[in-house]
């Protein structure tokens, strides 16, 4: 990853719709070769941020640029650097795979002698070359997704913006999709950045860096490891029975912030530094309350734990 090559910059980016501050001061510095994950609850501002970067919306305030081109006054040049895939992308069901790509390629300005070799290369990359003459309407959901990705890549964009691209997509396709994205940014001299918004934490975990959005701002940013470290030693796994009783007893412990069910066990989030004391206390209070204590131990925190923790925190605007 060449961090001298910042492809996506945003500084104090804002977008308001009347009183609603959908994007409320976002800063971004995304380098070539980076996969940046944008996560956050529905309504946090992820899609609006993407639409600002694509130039579909004008910012109310602040700046953003793609490969050095401002999205405010050089929007055509900025757009030419971008490939965009959203959940609502549409394909022409009656056209073949190849005809669909051709349509998108020519619409984006690829010349007659360019679109064909370029399209075949891309279809090969996503694994759809064999199906180039099949009508798009006859593709499986997963293959449609790959065609969407191919269409976004046909112009060799330097920045790929993916807005929840794998919602509702089966795990095999999702895995294939991710392998393609990672290959794209890992190739030597690829010079491509990817910004992906996703509600799936296992996908966020595959990004190089994650920005957690809340109320239009990025409140935490870091690598998956850095984010997970926020709750280092603060997640406990508790086993025993009956679970509803254990849940109650744990919730009443002053050192426990959050309790949730996880299959046949409970996960507890405890206050910083209180892991051991909480375990010792539960060893007493659970049997005292009529329950059976089988064991408790700290476990690795997940991005989901961090997401829920950050969502629950009172957020003070800067």
């Amino acid at each position: 990853m060449n961090s001298d090559d910042i492809l996506v910059r945003a500084s104090g980016l804002r977008k308001s719709f009347g009183d609603v501050h959908a994007v409320n001061g976002v800063d971004l510095n995304i380098a070539a070769g980076e996969i940046y994950g944008l996560v956050g609850s529905d309504g946090a501002g992820k899609t609006t941020t993407m639409r600002l970067l694509v130039g579909a919306l004008l910012p109310t305030n602040g700046e953003a640029s793609i490969c050095g081109y401002s999205v405010k006054n050089q929007v055509e040049q900025a757009r030419a650097q971008i490939g965009y895939l959203s959940q609502r992308f549409s394909l022409y069901e009656d056209l073949t795979v190849l005809e669909n790509i051709r349509f998108f390629a020519e619409m984006r300005g690829l010349k007659p002698d360019e679109w064909h070799p370029r399209s075949l290369e891309i279809l090969e990359f996503v694994g759809l070359a064999k199906f180039q003459h099949r009508r798009a309407g006859q593709l499986s959901g997963g293959m449609k997704q790959k065609l969407g990705l191919a269409s976004a890549l046909v112009t060799r964009p330097r920045v790929l913006l993916l807005d929840e691209p794998t919602t509702g997509v089966d795990p095999v396709t999702r895995q294939d999709f991710w392998q393609l994205i990672i290959q794209l940014v890992s190739a030597k001299d690829s010079g491509v950045s990817v910004i992906i918004s996703t509600p799936y934490m296992d996908e966020a975990a595959r990004c190089h860096r994650i920005g957690f959005m809340q109320k239009g701002e990025i409140i935490v940013e870091g690598t998956p490891g850095q984010l997970r470290n926020m709750l280092n030693q603060r997640i406990l796994e508790l086993r025993g029975s009956p679970l509803p009783l254990l849940k109650n007893i744990s919730a009443q412990n002053a050192g426990v912030e959050d309790v949730r069910s996880f299959g046949d066990r409970l996960h507890l989030r405890v206050k910083d530094g209180q892991s051991e004391s909480v375990i010792k206390e539960l060893e007493q209070t659970i049997p005292a309350g009529g329950g059976n204590f089988l064991g408790a131990r700290p476990i690795a925190s997940t991005l989901e734990d961090v997401f829920i923790y950050l969502s629950e925190r009172e957020h003070e605007p800067a």
């Binding site: 996560v39 990672i182 509600p199 975990a205 299959g263 829920i308």
Partner: protein, 305 residues
Amino acid sequence: MNLPEPVIVVDHLTRRFGDFVAVNAITFEVQPGEIIGYLGPNGSGKTTTFRMLLGLLTPSEGNASVLGYDVYRQAEQVRARVGYMSQKFAIYDDLTVWENLQFYGGVYGITDKARIEETAALVGLADQRTVLTRDLSVGWRQRLALGIALVHNPRLLFLDEPTSGVDPTARRAFWDLIYGLAETGVTILVTTHYMDEAEYCHRVAMMRDGNLLALDTPLALKDLFIPGKVWELYAEPLLNGLHALADLPGVIRSSLSGDHLRVIAESRLSENELKNALEQANVVLTSIQLGEPTLEDVFLNLARN
């Protein structure tokens, strides 16, 4: 001690479409209050199985009973007692939350206002009864869809990808509801494409090509279907490392995971052998450690072999 009656009993259940065997003599049982995850690639026979269990499709061979009723001969009774939640269900955007619950309640013969109120409260929508459905966020829409499936007080629920596209907080709130229901003895079958979510289930069923490959706890499935170790390696250049390891005998699967490699290898393969393979390909290894197998690993193994 009286053993509880199983809620679902499936015995060599089979469904053919012409020569194509969509569901191939599957057999299993589900106990009351269990949350069963039902997974499988597209085309594995999941949906066909569900449709038979819901009394919507006639089996070609074999039997199944749901809540004590035979799915073929007593389909009406099955359908009246089972709740089904699917994204493909029409929730009327022009109606309010209350009106949607009332409408679907009516479909099941529930006209009792108290029951509708109870259902709204159960899914957390008591304060939003007059909100127009189109104004609900994705997370709340899911809750309404669940409410609609619950209005007639079913003891068995089928949830078809219930939290697709929903963020973790909303998903967790939804699952708190599901766990609450299971604690009252409601049995739940859920399909999902989100492997992390499958880990929340008590047991998970894996289907492929019409066959039921396994039905067991997430832990047991990982033990059974991950025949080796999971390694996480940080190496440069990444793609060269990926290919070098993919070719190494004993490696079951080699894949990219963001900024590192995830390799599933037979237990006999040592750390040193992996290191050597990378060295020979001029790949620099910065760190290597053992990782935890996930249900995604299980799924991919089954889906591809």
